[in-house]
């Protein structure tokens, strides 16, 4: 009989997915922290080494590390996202050791693509000389590995271990760099190599943490690569979205670097201190809001999310499901709105105190408007980050990609216009892009939570069936196509003489 299934399909799989997705968001968001730590380490090195090295050489050093980190973040984005999701999922199902080949493949992939991208940019765009290029590529590939390990470790709630490893690694990086500067009078490239020891230490420390319990014979890298390719295809929308998102965060800087405000470093790379330093200060304001966002997700929100899916699984009526779905929807929007309000307060303070902050940071007074514009932009970027992260919670992968593309395009277009206008408008492009993308992301999220039950059931069924079809490899059943001229088994004569 064709029409009766032999089991009830699992619409409620999201209940189990809750922690997986949460972990992934946590891992992605928490990755912002190391950026700030790294910048702090670079500032520390610059301050301490200022007496023995020229400002140009130090700027060059900082530029190479920033390039390496930025390029690796873009190149590693799909690997970070897919690997942390696969590992989170494997831990949910107690298959952690089996999933570790995927982690290793992800790390290798991230390192290779980061090195390739930094080579293409360093050699192809800026004709960086060989030893510096090598240092850039090494830093980039090590950072690529680090992003993957870091996201996976953070996703697993290993905040303490990750923080300790990171602080130790950066201490090693800072120490090694200063030792190179003071002990050997190192060149810029040698400083980068020394700094890389610390990044390698972070990657090594995190790899020990993540790969413990795995024996070498179990590490079938080829299987890991195959699985990784499979999962990347499955999560193609968010993988590409993550990549576009990483580019979008940097596109305004690149455009300004390439414009009149850009200046060339010794290595041939370019930067724009006028814009970069003010933008960096503005980005610092997002830290408290992101922290609160992650903590709320981890507590109250995940409980409501699980309640909703548990109710469905435990055979709630539609009325009950609608009630709980409505509550989850309200909570989702409130989460963004409340923290947005908090961020708005921080933003207001920074905008008002911008001249003081600029003065205290030893920057130019002309950078005040940039700081103000970027701070308001960061306010809307928070809304954008929060809303797009929550969209992943509801498995809205296409919308995630669309919004990241929107941010990329508007940021690029807006910044290009501001470059034409002049330095007085720098940051305005980012602001417009952030406002448009933030509002769009909130509107999409609002639409999703308004139709939360539709997305859970109908879209959930479509997704499940598509995955099922992918897994079983559809066999064509077109007319006449699968009826060969001869049957496989013995032919039945006029009546029937066999069974």
């Amino acid at each position: 009989m064709a029409g009766i299934p032999s089991r009830l399909p699992r619409t409620t799989e999201n209940e189990g997915l809750a922690y997986t997705i949460l972990s992934m968001i946590r891992g992605t968001v928490v990755a912002v922290g190391p950026w700030l730590f790294t910048m702090t380490a670079l500032i520390l090195i610059s301050v301490v080494a200022a007496n023995v090295m020229s400002r140009a050489a130090l700027a060059d050093f900082r530029g190479i590390i920033i390039y390496a980190f930025a390029l690796s973040l873009i190149a590693a984005a799909p690997f970070v996202l897919v690997t942390s999701r696969v590992l989170s999922n494997a831990i949910d199902h107690n298959h952690r050791v089996e999933a570790q080949p995927v982690l290793v493949a992800g790390v290798v992939g991230a390192a290779a693509t980061s090195a390739a991208l930094s080579w293409a940019v360093g050699w192809g765009l800026f004709a960086v000389q060989s030893s510096t290029l090598l240092a850039l590529m090494q830093a980039s590939s090590l950072a690529g590995m680090m992003w993957v390990y870091l996201a996976v470790a953070s996703a697993m709630h290993g905040y303490k271990g990750v923080s300790v490893t990171f602080v130790v690694g950066l201490t090693v990086a800072t120490g090694a760099t200063l030792l190179a500067v003071f002990g050997w009078n190192a060149s810029t490239a040698e400083m980068v190599f020394a700094f890389n020891i610390g990044i390698a230490a972070i990657s090594f420390g995190l790899s020990i943490r993540e790969l413990r319990g795995t024996r070498c014979p179990n590490l079938d890298i080829m299987r890991g690569a195959r699985d990784l390719a499979l999962y990347t295809r499955r999560y193609a929308w968010i993988s590409v979205g993550a990549c576009l998102g990483a580019i979008a965060v940097w596109i305004d800087k690149w455009i300004i670097w390439a414009g009149p405000a850009g200046s060339e470093l010794r290595s041939g790379l370019v930067h724009a201190p006028y814009y970069d330093s003010a933008a960096f200060l503005a980005y610092l304001t997002i830290i408290p809001s992101l922290a609160r966002f992650v903590l709320t997700l981890d507590g109250e929100y995940i409980a409501a999310y699980r309640n909703y899916y548990n109710a469905i699984k435990q055979h709630a009526t539609l009325e009950e499901i609608e009630h709980m779905g409505g509550a989850l929807g309200r909570l989702t929007l409130e989460l963004v709105e409340k923290i947005f309000t908090q961020q708005a307060a921080i933003c207001a303070i920074v905008v008002l105190c911008a001249p003081l902050i600029i003065e205290a940071s030893n920057l130019k007074y002309a950078q005040v408007p940039v700081l103000r514009l970027c701070t308001i932009a960061v306010l809307f970027q928070f809304a954008f980050i929060a809303a797009t992260s929550l969209l992943i919670f509801f498995e809205r992968h296409r919308e995630f990609l669309f919004l990241q593309a929107l941010f990329l395009v508007t940021n690029a277009a807006g910044t290009m216009v501001t470059v034409e206008i002049g330095p007085v408008s720098y940051g305005f492009g980012l602001l417009v892009a952030s406002v448009i993308s933030g509002i769009a992301a909130y509107a999409v999220l609002n639409n999703v939570v308004q139709h939360i039950n539709y997305f859970t059931f109908v879209e959930g069924a479509v997704r499940m069936h598509m995955q099922e079809r992918d897994n079983t490899k559809k066999k064509s059943c077109s007319p006449n196509a699968d009826w060969p001229n001869e049957p496989r088994e013995s032919v039945f004569p006029s009546s029937r003489s066999c069974v």
Binding site: M1, I4, H451, Y454, V458, K474, P487, E489, F492, R496
Partner: protein, 522 residues
């Protein structure tokens, strides 16, 4: 009668193909399964060489599927309709939430009326709505869009507002997904449509009748609605979530009720649309009437076999090793385990007895292994042989008694084949086994017994019956002769083929008349 053909949106309407005389609509068997209804269909198509056939095979779930039969020369069109949405839906439907409300209301009302009141106008309304809205109502829109959500919510509120919504959602997707699939799938043009069950096959025949005005025939070997009722009652993946307590008067429906009522409604639609409703034996008609088949449509056409092809089969010598055989697939419904247990009991009285289990063992390998384990456990491995797929004519000359221990049968061909070879049978009292072995009440002259009837799952009775026949050569010969005479008279293939030929002729005439009337009305 409703004729929708002129209203069909060409973009979703079935594409015309080579015209066939008869379009067979079959669910879950031919040509991908061997034995049973599949082999009967293979025979039916071949028995009407002057007619041109089309076959629409309704399946569910992933392939690959390979035909088990050689393609008949008179089969001009073959298509597979897969009911599983995993294998048919590649995209989301394009209906916005704002547009879905009115259309969803329309579809939900028609669907709910169909299920709750068994109102077959619900099917008419559904088909009309689907076909008149074109792409807005294509399969993706019906299952994968806001329209689907509006429809499922409204039907749930109308039918089972207190039941598990999760259960209802998947039931709806399966039951109505199948209906929507059949409402939008290509339909070959034919002079008559012959569905080999009610259910989805009957539903497609009902659609064909409504769209083309052609006559339709429903043939049931087993009663589909009854078989589904058993499946649904036994299904442990359907949870009963509505608390009815001990009250027998509580008419609150649960999702399990919806499953059953939907199949009943589908059967009613099929019967109402059908020109003829045929089955193999009279007892089945009681259930067909109960499910809405009108008396004047009912016919009985027994299966037949080619008796002549068994003419050369010689009866085994009385001195040969006593041999009993079960011929059939090694699957639970055949209750092969009861046969094995009865052989173990028989062996206490006849030490050198040989038992053959003749039939494919690959359909349910787990069950087959359980049977083999039972053989070992009862220490009868030296007298029981699993032959696997085999030519039964190779084995019939060795068999003294044929045994059938099935839980369920319609009109088993093996009894007729044994009869043609003059072999008496022991069979359970299921389907029309009793009628085959003891004759119909109106059999004149009475031809006598062709074997012994036992209860189902009664190894002692089966063993006793086998012992009785193996020990009484004279009675065994008389039973074999009676069964042969009955088979020749009532169950021979040429007669069955002639019956179907006559039925098709009548159906073609009705089709021509109806289509002419419709054209006149237009």
């Amino acid at each position: 009668m409703l004729v929708l053909q002129d209203k069909v949106d060409t973009s979703i309407a079935p594409q015309p193909s080579t015209d066939a005389d008869v379009c067979i609509i079959v669910e879950g068997c031919y040509p991908f399964v061997s034995g049973g209804v599949s082999s009967w269909l293979n025979w039916l198509i071949r028995s009407q060489p002057e007619l041109n056939f089309a076959v629409v095979a309704i399946v569910n779930g992933p392939g690959p599927r390979e035909p088990r039969y050689q393609r008949p020369a008179n089969l001009s069109y073959f298509d597979v309709v897969n009911l599983s949405d995993a294998y048919i839906l590649s995209r989301r439907g394009n209906v916005a939430h704002t547009q879905a409300s009115t259309l969803g209301q329309e579809i939900a009302e028609a669907g709910a009326n169909l299920i709750s009141d068994g109102d077959t106008r619900g099917l008419d309304n559904l088909l009309r709505t689907i076909h008149s809205h074109g792409k807005k109502c294509d399969l993706e829109a019906l299952l994968n869009s806001a329209l689907a959500w509006q429809t499922v919510q409204r039907m749930y509120r109308q039918l089972v507002p207190q039941a598990s919504f999760l259960q209802f959602f998947w039931a709806w997707r399966t039951l109505f997904g199948g209906l929507f699939r059949l409402a939008t799938c290509p339909l070959p043009r034919a002079r008559t449509y012959h569905a080999i069950s009610t259910g989805y096959a009957g539903l497609l025949a009902a659609r064909a009748q409504r769209e083309t005005g052609a006559s339709t025939i429903i043939t049931e070997h087993g009663i589909y609605t009854n078989e589904r009722r058993i499946d649904i009652l036994l299904a442990d993946w359907i949870s009963d979530t509505v608390e009815k307590g001990l009250s027998l008067e509580d008419l609150t429906q649960d999702v399990r009720d919806i499953w059953m009522k939907t199949f009943e409604a589908y059967a009613k639609c099929a019967y109402e649309s059908a020109t003829f409703v045929t089955t193999l034996f009279a007892e089945n008609q009681v259930l067909q009437r109960l499910h809405g088949a009108q008396e004047h449509k009912l016919r009985i056409i027994p299966n037949g076999i080619d008796v002549a092809s068994f003419a050369d089969v010689r009866s085994p010598s009385p001195c040969a090793r006593p041999t009993v055989a079960l011929i059939g697939r090694v699957v639970p419904i055949k209750d092969v385990k009861t046969f094995i247990r009865s052989v173990a009991l028989l062996r206490r009285d006849i030490e050198n007895v040989e038992a053959l289990i003749i039939g494919p063992t690959d359909e349910d390998e787990l069950y087959c292994q359980e049977c083999r384990d039972l053989v070992e456990e009862l220490r009868v491995a030296d007298c029981i042989t699993f032959t696997g797929l085999a030519r039964i004519t190779d084995y019939l000359p060795r068999i003294h008694v044929l045994v059938l221990t099935s839980f369920s049968e319609a009109q088993p061909l093996v009894i007729l084949e044994a009869g043609a070879a003059q072999i008496p049978c022991v069979a359970t009292n299921v389907g029309c086994c009793k009628e085959l072995l003891e004759g119909a009440p109106d059999e004149i002259p009475a031809l006598g017994k062709g074997g012994l009837i036992t209860d189902a799952v009664a190894p002692e009775q089966t063993a006793a019956a086998m012992l009785h026949l193996l020990s009484n050569h004279g009675e065994r010969e008389a039973f074999g002769a009676a069964l042969k005479a009955r088979t020749e008279r009532y169950y021979n293939a040429p007669q069955a083929a002639a019956n179907y030929q006559a039925l098709y002729k009548e159906a073609f005439a009705k089709s021509a008349r109806t289509i002419k009337l419709n054209v006149g009305a237009c």
